[in-house]
Amino acid sequence: MDIELISLTKRYGDTVAVDGINLKIRSGSYCCLLGPSGCGKTTTLRMIAGHETVSSGDVVIGPKAVGDLPPAERGTAMMFQSYALFPHLTCRDNVAFGLKMRGVPKAERLKRAEAMLALVQMDHLAGRLPAQLSGGQQQRVALARALVTGPKVLLLDEPLSALDPFLRVRMRTELKRLQGELGITFVHVTHSQEEAMALSDLVVVMNGGRIEQAAAPRTVFERPATAFVARFIGGHNVIALPDRRVAVRADRMRLGPEAGPEAQSARVVAVEYQGSTVHVSLEAPNLAAEAGAPLTAILSDHAFAASPFTLGDTVRVGWPAGEAHRLDA
């Protein structure tokens, strides 16, 4: 179901956590709310879920405004950051909980719980208590519990942050697969730009309770709207030119003779070898948008080997004309 946020606002006393945001999430898409901690992304998610009251504005899910409806009447289900599995219930009973609350007969709800556990490959541990499961397993159970009542929208609050890096990548793939199979809308809160890039159809970059940019991941990366987005999404240099500020992707920076006629001189302050690429940090006082923030150029290992730099070298730095994107504000 489509989700629409209409000048949605959340105030806690004098502080504004979410500042009148407008957003439309198409039905069946994977949307990531991305931003640093305290940017209002979790509050936004909780307002969509109905676990947080709305100060002003509205949330529309499908055809109806859900302003004051309790969570279960919105057609949404939430997966909590800490998973929030009931410690006194087995996996099977945890998954069947929502059905039990809706008065589904015991035999049927256990059957449906088993089927849902099978979907997340946890059916073999159905009789265990949450405390007897690893973090990754608990998460699968939490996912099954959220999906068992057939929600139209699944809300995920930093679902991968508690997992180790290897599991995180695996669960990421699995989430994407599940979303494709179920065809329902996923709204996923994360502070990892990598996660957002890998998963989403729509990335919503938030900062200070406002939306900085909401677009497809490729658009966000290719044409960051603001300096904040360019910095947060990574892989970009924010460069201050005399009349404007631009973002240039680090891998499009050109060094040495290729730098072009408008190149400026810069000093090499760090060289990091990364295997297939080499990251070169450059200090260029004429270009830096913030004092002391170095620029980064990512070179292929070939290019670097052909003309290596060492610390303290002075090089010419520039970029092809079409690679600079003008930034708002």
Binding site: Q81, S82, R145
Partner: protein, 325 residues
């Protein structure tokens, strides 16, 4: 034997090695063994204060009570001996059938107070704890309300009980008010010195013992579980029955043990609030003590201890406390 010998053998080596660090790590195992033993000895020292208190204030008196319960006594002396007469006296007439013997009747009366007191303190205690834990948002307010719950403890038990007398008496505040309002014509007789007043006093005295452990259990419940329950479509009542009550079981069990043992062994409350007219097991023991019939009192105490143990064993059978804690 051989390992012990090896250890004692190795010990001087380690002692020699200690002052000058040798390049070879060879003496390490011996040093480790010595360290382990030292640690174990330290653990015993650390456990000793509690162990001593346990021994002096619990095991020794218990053993003495048990021993004395087998002694003989008459009007003017207690004779160290071994007799089962005291226990036979406790259960005198209990096996003959017909009417219930005094002991069984006393136990039944005490159990009735237990049941009533327990049910009332559980209901009130759970409700109060639930309110403070889940409906009071600020921690400061929670602390304040929690302290208010303990205010009754600032005065002594007896004073708290006596305070009910002017309230519940024949011409007390309650009767006066009801009569002046025209609700009743003649004073209600059963307010004071009755089962009602005894149970009321028990509730007054013991509810806090229910509140504290249940509140503690409730504070340990992850608040996101409540949200998860409402997300799954549970109404507040369903959340209460399916999430909060099961997770409060350890607190309920501990509170129940407190209240049940307090009421089982009570003699003051039943005496004062029952107008010295209602029997209780504790009262029987107290009277026998007053007449210096220590062996008889001791036998009664041992039987009471057995009864309480059975009660608690049944309770822990319902809830595996060790697992839940």
């Amino acid at each position: 034997m051989s390992t012990a010998a090896a250890r004692t053998h190795a010990l001087p080596e380690a002692a020699q090695a200690a002052p000058a660090p040798l390049p070879t790590p060879l003496p390490a195992p011996a040093g480790l063994a010595a360290a382990t033993r030292r640690q174990r000895r330290l653990a015993y020292w650390q456990a000793m204060p509690l162990g001593l208190i346990f021994l002096v204030f619990f095991l020794v008196p218990l053993a003495l009570t048990l021993v004395v319960s087998f002694w003989e006594y008459n009007e003017y002396e207690i004779i160290p001996a071994f007799t089962l007469q005291n226990y036979a006296d406790v259960f005198e007439g209990c096996l003959s059938g017909g009417d219930l013997c005094t002991t069984f009747r006393t136990y039944l009366s005490t159990l009735k107070f237990c049941l009533l007191g327990w049910a009332a303190t559980l209901t009130i205690g759970f409700t109060v704890a639930y309110f403070v834990a889940f409906h009071v948002r600020s921690t400061a307010m929670q602390t304040v309300l929690f302290l208010i719950c303990t205010i009754p403890f600032w005065t002594s038990n007896v004073i708290r009980m006596i305070a009910w007398v002017p309230l519940l008496g024949r011409n007390g505040l309650v009767n006066d008010t009801l009569m002046s309002l025209g609700v009743i014509r003649t004073p209600i007789e059963g307010l004071l010195y009755s089962d009602f007043s005894v149970v009321l006093a028990f509730i007054h005295l013991d509810t806090v013992f229910m509140i504290v452990p249940i509140f503690n259990s409730m504070m340990r419940i992850d608040r996101s579980l409540i949200e998860a329950a409402s997300d799954a479509g549970a109404t507040p009542w369903q959340t209460l029955w399916n999430v909060i009550v099961p997770l409060c079981k350890p607190g309920i069990a501990i509170g129940s043990i407190f209240v049940l043992t307090l009421i089982m062994g009570d003699f003051v409350t039943v005496g004062v609030m029952g107008g010295q007219q209602i029997a209780s097991v504790g009262k029987v023991i107290q009277v026998q003590m007053a007449y210096l019939q220590f062996p008889a009192a001791a036998a009664n105490a041992v039987v009471l201890l057995g009864a309480v143990t059975v009660l608690i064993a049944a309770l822990t059978r319902l809830i595996d406390l060790r697992r839940e804690l």
